[in-house]
């Protein structure tokens, strides 16, 4: 099986490539990146006028399987991922059961082996049942294949326990991903604390609940001399803290979700539960700070925090509805629309944040188009507009914050491990 992608603008920051090249894929791998490759191939993709980049590495995805297959499965999420140009995902461990022991990690692994349509990497939990009481066996979990640990959905409240986890993670050279939230501050809140919570009469979540934890976790990482990755930043204070920590030499990386840099709390105005997520949409200054953080390189990664929920869990009173939105199918287009087309990021920077940086942070061999690498490649029409429609979403759940929105940038082809795993049905070709 050979694929030749011709005449696209190939962007591969890992190899400092940005120009018109051809790419040849042979036997699941990239075998050549050069001008005017004339070899014949089984499939020839004309990428004239298109962007050719590594498949996206989304390091924050809730697959819901095992346990909540009514929301999403490994199969449906990875199918949605391919439509969004995502070829690798990191599966968050807050499943039922949680990925907190070798048995459940093995269970997830077997589901992945049988049903995944894209690469799925495992994030195990930091503590047993994610209760923040007892550490998991990090060494064993790593051996089974976990590339990171996180209690995502919750913070580890106990300082000493997190410090111990960070030290163990350093010894095992595994990444700790931190969900920063002090639930004693955020408890009961459903939207950002501010004018919108005031107008709508909803309990607010102050930014402090996030940034105080960011501050603590940075100090603990420093003390443990460990790497730490801060998930889903939402407020300007967190960005400032991370900027400072990076200057200090703390080994921190940070991510932001597309909804947080593209939408503000104003979006909640009509009690739309598809605008309810945790952390919540913040105010306009926070959105600007997140964008500036991306621009200045303070924020390394864009990740979807894909969080599928059924309609039954969303089409209810705002205060009772689940937190979270799906994002695999829109993250690239939202990023192009909000960051590239506005001049905030140039294409190679976007590719770094979507592909190369998360791969590096996780220590996985992804996010590049280097010769010899597994062929995870996407071909994107950068200027094509589309409207996000509920019916067209591949994900099992439809709780997108972007329904009805016009976005720019369409994935035409997703090549995953050397085969064409997705082709845009409306490519017009």
């Amino acid at each position: 099986m050979t694929i030749l992608i011709k005449d696209g603008r190939v962007i591969d920051p890992a190899n400092k490539i940005d120009g018109i090249y051809d790419i040849l894929v042979e036997n699941d791998k990239i075998s050549e990146v050069a001008k005017n490759i004339t070899t014949s191939a089984d499939d020839i993709i004309d990428a004239t006028g298109k962007i050719v980049m590594p498949g996206i590495v989304d390091m924050h995805v809730h697959l819901r399987e095992p346990g909540r297959e009514d929301k999403e499965t490994v199969a449906t999420a990875t199918k949605a991922a391919l439509r969004g140009g995502v070829t690798s995902v990191l599966a968050m461990p807050n499943t039922q059961p949680a990925i907190d022991c070798p048995e459940s990690a093995q269970l997830l692994k077997s589901i992945i082996d049988k049903t995944a349509k894209a690469n799925v990497f495992i994030c195990a939990s930091i503590t047993r049942e994610r209760l923040g009481r007892e550490l998991t066996d990090i060494a064993k979990l790593k051996k089974i294949g976990a590339v990171a640990i996180s209690d995502d959905g919750s913070s580890v409240d106990n300082d000493e326990l997190l410090l111990e986890a960070l030290k163990k993670a350093r010894e095992q050279d595994i990444l700790v991903i931190s969900h920063c939230e002090d639930k004693t501050i955020s408890a009961g809140g459903v939207v950002n604390l501010g004018i919108i919570s005031t107008r709508l009469g909803l309990r607010g979540i102050p930014s402090e609940s996030e940034y105080k934890r960011v501050q603590r976790d940075l100090q603990l990482a420093k003390k443990a001399k460990a790497r730490i990755h801060i998930a889903h930043l939402s407020c300007k204070e967190s960005v400032e803290l991370i900027a400072k920590a990076k200057k200090e030499g703390i080994k921190v990386s940070a991510e932001v979700a597309p909804h947080h840099f593209s939408l503000s709390e104003e979006a909640v105005s009509a009690f739309d539960t598809n605008m309810k997520m945790n952390p919540p949409l913040r105010n306009k200054q926070d959105v600007e700070a997140l964008k500036a953080g991306l621009e200045k390189g303070i924020i390394d990664v864009i990740a979807s925090d894909h969080a599928p929920h059924t309609e039954n869990e969303k089409e209810i009173e705002f205060g009772r509805a689940e937190f979270g939105v799906v994002g695999l199918e829109t993250e690239l287009a939202v990023s192009i629309t909000e960051l590239v087309n506005t001049g905030l990021l140039v294409w190679p920077d976007l590719v770094r944040k979507l592909c190369l940086n998360p791969a590096k942070i996780l220590g996985i061999d992804k996010g590049t188009l280097g010769v010899g690498c597994a062929a995870d490649i996407i071909v994107v029409s950068p200027d094509k507009e589309w409207i996000v429609r509920k019916e067209a979403l591949v994900s099992k759940s439809k709780n997108s914050a972007f329904l009805g929105k016009k976005l720019t940038g369409v994935v035409e082809y997703t090549i995953c491990n050397g085969s064409i795993a997705y082709k845009n049905p409306d490519s017009g070709e």
Partner: protein, 317 residues
Amino acid sequence: MPVAWTRKDLLGLEDLSKEEIELLLATAESFKEVSTREIKKVPALRGKTVVNLFYEPSTRTRVSFEIAAKRLSADVINIATETSSVRKGETLIDTGKNIEALKVDIIVVRHNYSGAAAMLGRHLKASVINAGDGWHEHPTQALLDIFTLKEKLGRIAGLSVSIVGDIAHSRVARSNIWGLTKLGANVTVCAPKMLIPPAIEQMGVEVTSDIDEALSNADAVNVLRMQFERDEENAFPKQLEYFKNFGITQERLEKAKKDIIVMHPGPLNRGIEISSEIADGANSVILEQVTNGIAVRMAALFLVAQANENISHDNTD
């Protein structure tokens, strides 16, 4: 009327224009006389069915809506949580759709979650009137407050109105703020700092925690009911302290405008937010508010029913 009412629902005053609020008030004025007749009934909603769907205990609002609907000749059914299937875990939308399937024209909903009325309105073809949703809005209460004020002082524009009490958790406060500011009144909210929600000045109000300042220039004061948790150990000292610092008393009113109007949405907590002598005194319009509530709710029921008839008529054309 220069403006027509086209909304099938009345969900809050934030969404309404000044003209729409004025239309509601004018309609209420025309209905007020009905309640003074020997036969207190007009056939405006004859053949229509109104359901009061109340998820929170309420007597006065429910009774007021019930009387308003009956004076318009509508049939009224009351559903309270105790007697309905909501305890069996039915969703609000399902409950609403089931009521709609009974060919009900208007659902008056009281709910403890902010946004519940709006959600119901979005999913149903029947009209929905918000009778209070969480801390969000209570539009008919604010309309009756404004109606009473206008009746007393002849205008709203240019008036100074202070709202005193637990602003953070009050749907009455929010609806009053929207209604009054849209009609050109100057609104001040007054409460202990922890009961003032953040950024409220962006709703176009002045903010103070000094009750004397709030009263000094006010043409009217709207005193909110203070709810201290009943089982809370120090509820009583808290009540005393609140009365001392924010209670509306004779002594305080003596420093205010002589004719200051005193309003209260009820039920009263005498000796907590207001003294008995003020509640029963010459400045108080508290019982007139209750009377006007009927006219305002008749207007709301009538306008949404009429608009919805036009909408369904347009759809069948």
